[in-house]
């Protein structure tokens, strides 16, 4: 059933394209409906999988191929038999949370885009197409298929940013696309090398689960792993290939920023884990330390740069870079707890970044038409839009890794993993955390709690109030981060189940 998330998104996009462009309300509702249906499917899968976790744990423990045992196959039909490409969709505890995340970001993104009036039809069509592509990447268990969806997701991104974006939108969009393509080119090279080395069509083909059993030679893994890993990690915002992220996020319209930071960056990290680490564990081990150091640089560097930004959205953009550093670092610890944390951090950061961008882009920018912190400071927005202020404070707290929110559990696990793997880096991460608090708090205070120094009081008062769709969406996301923060079991159990056998490979 879960494959319908993909089809529904594309169907929705197609349906919207068929509608007359004047029917904006209908278009929105159709988009929302398809998003909700997708989310419903994802949640259903989550529910049944989560319920089955104890049972699966037993099976995994007994299975000869524990990684495969944790999987549930959605569909598996041959596609290009001559190349041994199949249409193979499956999910386990690693990608299921990400599918759920995508569902939530889709629904809330649509809600936050409710006010889009410029070429509404195209916007939602592109948006749904992008969502469909992302669903596809997360679900695909065939390398070829995965790559197809991966590329498929890039195109709508470009148009969404270039058409509906703001500051330097063409530049941002082009930068994003170029980085994505360069990254995916590197990854593609690696993937093809994997395919060829494993014997091409005669070997396991593109089937990820079969490929993982193929023992690639250490020499091969040594050069191929960084190719694949860095190729995917470019999309995860790995330093020094991160610079597309802030620019792209800033240029993108709200929903696209949410999607970019919330889900698209996770695509990269997911690829790193699923393709890079699962297929080339020896390479991962060889490269763990240098890449771990880069991840720490990500954390500290992103946080430090975020601290001195003058543009509200840039702060959030760089914060994403910093937080993705935790994901990469968690991956590079090669420990169960670190990987658990990394996957949870993917989910958590997806939610939080979505929320932050929603506040910045939708609630604040659409009303004040400025993102310069100094100007916002002079408005003292907490009096004008308390809901936005509270939302941002909560989102900020979650982003800082305040205990009780999802970020804390994830970062805690990552850091424990880091202690295990590279104790000295853990201390460096400490600085990163302090910097994270620094910029987040500073931003909260500046953006919402400054001193009123604006002459045009009336102009401030005339801002439209926060609309119901925004409130609903923000509430959903806040609730999610708190629920996951307080009861992370709901995701951690399944993540743990799937990560455990994976770590035994490493």
């Amino acid at each position: 059933m879960l494959d319908w998330t993909i089809y529904l998104s594309f169907l929705g996009a197609g349906l919207i394209l068929c509608l007359p462009r004047e029917q904006k309300a209908l278009i929105r509702w159709i988009a929302l409906a398809s998003g909700l249906l997708g989310l419903g499917l994802a949640l259903g899968a989550w529910w049944s999988y989560n319920a089955a976790v104890p049972e699966l744990t037993k099976q995994v423990a007994l299975a000869s191929d524990p990684i495969r045992a944790a999987f549930r196959v959605v569909c598996d039909v041959p596609w290009i038999p001559s190349l041994k490409v199949s249409y193979f969709l499956a999910y386990d505890g690693i990608n299921l949370p990400l599918v759920v995340l995508n569902g939530f970001i889709c629904v809330t993104g649509i809600l936050f885009s409710w006010n889009i009036e410029h070429r509404t039809k195209e916007f939602f069509a592109f948006f749904l197409a992008l969502i469909g592509g992302v669903y596809g990447v997360f679900l695909a268990m065939d390398l070829f298929l995965l790559f197809v969806f991966y590329e498929l997701a890039i195109i709508p991104k470009y148009f969404i940013i270039a058409i509906w974006g703001s500051t330097r939108k063409e530049y941002g969009a082009m930068k994003l696309v170029l980085y994505s393509f360069v990254g995916s080119a590197a990854a593609l090279l690696g993937i093809l090398a994997l395919y060829v080395k494993s014997g091409g069509a005669a070997g396991p083909g593109f089937d990820l689960l079969a490929l993982k059993d193929f023992k690639f030679t250490p020499e091969f893994q040594f050069w191929c792993f960084p190719l694949v890993f860095v190729g995917f990690a470019v999309l995860a915002g790995m330093w020094p290939f991160h610079s597309w992220a802030p620019t792209g996020h800033v240029a993108a319209p709200t929903a696209a920023s949410m999607l970019l930071a919330g889900v698209v960056m996770k695509l990269g990290a997911y690829g790193c884990l699923r393709v890079g680490m699962m297929l080339m564990p020896i390479g991962a081990k060889e490269w763990a330390f240098p890449l771990g150091v880069i991840a720490v640089i990500n954390i500290i560097y992103g946080a430090a740069v975020a601290w001195v930004q003058r543009d509200f959205k840039f702060v959030i953009g760089y914060s994403s870079v910093s937080h993705m550093g935790f994901v990469l670092l968690g991956l590079m610890t090669l420990t169960t707890i670190g990987l658990d944390g990394a996957v949870l951090q993917m989910f958590s950061h997806g939610i939080i970044a979505g929320l932050l961008f929603a506040v910045v882009g939708r609630m604040v920018y659409d009303r004040t038409h400025t993102r310069v912190l100094a100007e916002l400071q002079a408005m003292r927005l907490c009096d004008i839009m308390p809901f936005a202020a509270v939302t941002f404070v909560l989102a900020g707290a979650a982003s800082m890794g305040v205990p009780g929110f999802s970020g804390f559990v994830a970062e805690l696990q990552v850091l424990i993993g880091v202690w295990r793997a590279f104790p000295w880096l853990a201390i460096a991460c400490g600085f990163g955390i302090v910097l994270t608090f620094a910029y987040t708090l500073q931003t909260i205070l500046r953006a919402f709690y400054g001193e009123r120094r604006v002459a045009d009081e009336a102009g401030l008062r005339d801002m439209p109030p926060i609309s119901p769709p925004e409130k609903i969406a923000a509430t959903i996301l806040i609730a999610l981060t708190i629920i996951v923060g307080i009861y992370p079991n709901c995701l951690l159990n399944m993540i743990h189940l799937s990560i455990q056998p994976l770590v035994t490979l490493l």
């Binding site: 930068k175 170029l178 980085y179 020094p240 991160h242 610079s243 597309w244 620019t247 560097y301 430090a304 740069v305 601290w307 001195v308 930004q309 302090v434 910097l435 620094a438």
Partner: protein
């Protein structure tokens, strides 16, 4: 409350004595200001009952002393036995042990408690008149009751901690009462000074207490099984302490610090004269009769510790002797009637401390008790004079008061003579005891020193007291009869007085004179309780282990002669030819700079101002500045991090983005190069295609 077996009911209910004034104080603290009579009634009633109970305690004690003991001859005077009636209770438990507290009734307690409660009661009554018009009358009795409770608690305590607690509370009461006229900045400052200076001594006391507690495991002075802190003094004498002293000596020294502070001994005497800013009954009660003597009582109470350390006793003796003379010299040159008495108090306390130091514990206590009566009498007399002279305190603005206030005059004369040590008044006997003890202390100039100083003090005492009597009571009234009020009393002060009508001095009301008379009687006759040799009841009562001194005629003669000499000199200078108004002090001409030195109190205040106070101020400023530096350093760290962040940002902008843009730029440049081929002419394309195809084919064929 677990009374030990077979003790009189009063001994097991000793806690009632301090509790009643405490309760009175507590209740009147909650009363609104208008309940003046109720408050005063409560206070006086409570202290009255306490006094009665104190009498019972004294009586029981004396009876206990008279009782025959197994195997001993019937002789009250000869019981060489120390006895205590103890009660104890647990304050709280900790660890596997508990902190016990208790009360003790022994001769020391009995003697002290009766003096304190009786004098307190008299002064309470006196205050009814003196404070009649004060708007904070209710508060005054609250504080007085608090003081009485604390002081009595201190006396009956069988526990150093309880003693310390009450000690601090009397300090608080003293603070509150000195600063009673809080709107006067001088009063507020004096109160603070009193509290802080005594607190300084208390720090030492507290340290001694802590050390004693650790060393003995208890703070009870005496316990039924003889393991009390004092009962272990001998053992402590064998342990090492600091500065070459034994542990007992160290603890004694620390405890003595407390006594120095509270009893106004040099070098912590500076607060006591300033404390005269308080109402006169307060000066009489707290800063003359009782609280300041608590230091002496403390040493007497913990005397076993001092006895275990001769070095400390020597120090005590010398400090006492020095203080006695120093304060007397200052008193000679003072003009304020209360300040003269205050320095006299310091001086007399010096005698007591000296007495303790030279081993005459009973003598010191005897002097303490006697001093309590006659100094209270003098202060109340002075208060009466001040009252009568419309708040005038400068003796040079008085004179001839004898005519207007005869009763005050005669009682004052009794007090003066008692203080000067004129036979047969109380002061004669007690001072004689102290001097005899000092005389007998040891041989050599070092050990005779305190005695010699004491003798000088006797002369000076007699002189300054007679100077005061002459200036105040003899001659003609030098004050401005037309002017009411007092120059250094604010206008609000006026309402504390009876009348503000201008006129001559007048006699005080009965409620004030009756206490004077009672105290005068005690001052005159109480001395007979301490006749030298075998008739020395007090000595036997307080210190049965040591035999009293024999009569030392040399000491009696010297002291009496010096006392008379002092009186004579005083009369010569001030009595024969009463001073006229605005006439300067005759001493000014005779002593010159020396008088100024004495008048300015040996410049102690200035010395402390320049050293201790300045040091404290500088220290606080330095620490505050250091804090700011520290703060700055941490803020600097933050700024450093921020600076690094800015560098990172620039790196992102200049390096990473530029790399990307540069990369894109080079791609674009390349594109431009190729675009140049694309000149839009179909034929060019064709040419290109042809050449390319040719080349390709050529290459293909060559292969």
């Amino acid at each position: 409350m677990e009374p030990t077996t077979h003790i009189p009911w009063i001994a097991s209910r000793l806690w009632l004595i301090p509790l009643l004034p405490f309760l009175a104080g507590g209740v009147s603290a909650l009363l609104p200001r208008r309940y003046r009579k109720l408050s005063a009634g409560l206070a006086i009633g409570a202290i009255g009952i306490s006094t009665l109970l104190s009498f019972c305690a004294l009586a029981e004690s004396i009876l206990r002393g008279l009782q025959p003991h197994a195997g001993q001859q019937w002789s009250a005077m000869q019981t060489h036995e120390v006895w205590h009636w103890l009660t104890e209770f647990t304050w709280f438990s900790y660890g596997t042990t508990s902190l016990k507290m208790g009360f003790v009734l022994d001769p020391l307690t009995a003697a002290m408690v009766i003096m304190v409660s009786f004098v307190s009661m008299l002064i309470f009554i006196y205050s009814l008149g003196y404070m009649d018009r004060d708007k904070n009358f209710t508060r005054f009795f609250t504080f007085l009751s608090l003081f009485a409770g604390a002081m009595l608690g201190l006396v009956v305590a069988n526990n150093l901690l309880l003693f310390f607690a009450c000690w601090e509370l009397v300090g608080l009461a003293s603070y509150l009462l000195i600063g009673f006229w809080y709107h006067r900045p001088s009063a507020a400052a004096a109160a603070k000074k009193a509290f802080l200076v005594t607190k300084l001594g208390d720090i030492g006391f507290f340290a001694g207490l802590l050390w004693l507690y650790h060393a003995t495991g208890t703070l009870q002075f005496y316990t039924p099984d003889h393991t009390g802190a004092l009962e272990q003094a001998t053992a402590l004498a064998g342990l090492p302490g600091i500065m070459g002293l034994s542990l007992a000596g160290t603890i004694a020294l620390l405890i003595f610090c407390g006594a120095v502070g509270k009893s106004g001994q040099w070098p912590l005497h500076v607060w006591l004269p300033d404390a005269m800013e308080g109402p006169t009954p307060v000066s009489a009660l707290i800063h003359a009769a009782t609280m300041v003597a608590a230091g002496v009582f403390l040493v007497a109470r913990t005397y076993p510790l001092f006895q275990a350390s001769p070095q400390v006793l020597t120090l005590v003796a010398w400090i006492g002797a020095f203080t006695a003379v120093m304060a007397a010299t200052i008193a000679v040159a003072q003009n304020d009637i209360k300040r003269i008495l205050a320095y006299s108090t310091v001086s007399q306390l010096g005698y007591m401390v000296m007495g303790l130091g030279v081993g005459g514990m009973a003598a010191a206590m005897f002097h303490l008790l006697m001093h309590g009566f006659f100094k209270a009498l003098l202060f109340l007399g002075a208060g009466s004079v001040i009252h009568g002279c419309h708040n005038e305190q400068d003796v040079f603005k008085m004179g001839g008061v004898k005519k207007h206030m005869p009763l005050t005059f005669w009682t004052y004369i009794v007090g003066t003579l008692a203080l000067a040590g004129i036979f047969p008044l109380a002061g004669f006997w007690s001072k004689d005891e102290v001097l005899t003890a000092a005389f007998n202390w040891g041989s050599g100039w070092f050990h005779k020193g305190p005695f010699v100083l004491g003798c000088i003090g006797v002369f000076l005492t007699a002189f300054y007291m007679w100077r005061q009597v002459c200036l105040v009571f003899l001659g003609e009234y030098r004050g401005d009869k037309a002017k009411a009020g007092h120059k250094h009393v604010g206008h609000e002060e006026a309402e504390t007085q009876h009348e503000t009508v201008p006129g001559a001095p007048h006699e005080s009301p009965t409620v004030m004179t009756v206490p004077l008379i009672v105290l005068a009687i005690f001052s005159a006759f109480m001395g007979f309780s301490g006749l030298p040799e075998h008739a020395n009841l007090i000595h036997h009562f307080l210190n049965p282990e040591h035999a009293p001194h024999n009569v030392n005629w040399f000491v009696i003669a010297t002291a009496s002669a010096l006392a008379f000499a002092g009186l004579g000199l005083g009369h010569l200078l001030y009595g024969l030819k009463p001073l006229a108004a605005d006439e300067p002090d005759p001493l000014k001409a005779k002593l010159g700079k020396l008088r100024e030195f004495c008048r300015d109190k040996w410049y102690w205040d200035e010395i402390y101002e320049a050293t201790v106070v300045r040091f404290a101020n500088i220290a606080s400023v330095v620490v505050d500045f250091g804090d700011r530096l520290l703060d700055g350093a941490t803020v600097g760290l933050g700024l450093l991090a921020r600076g690094l962040s800015l560098i990172n940002d620039k790196f992102d902008e200049r390096a990473i983005n530029r790399c990307f843009d540069g990369g894109c730029g080079s791609v674009r440049l390349m594109g431009r190069c190729f675009a140049a081929l694309q000149d839009g002419r179909v034929q060019s394309y064709l040419r290109l295609v042809a050449v390319a195809a040719a080349l390709l084919a050529f290459w293909f064929f060559l292969k």
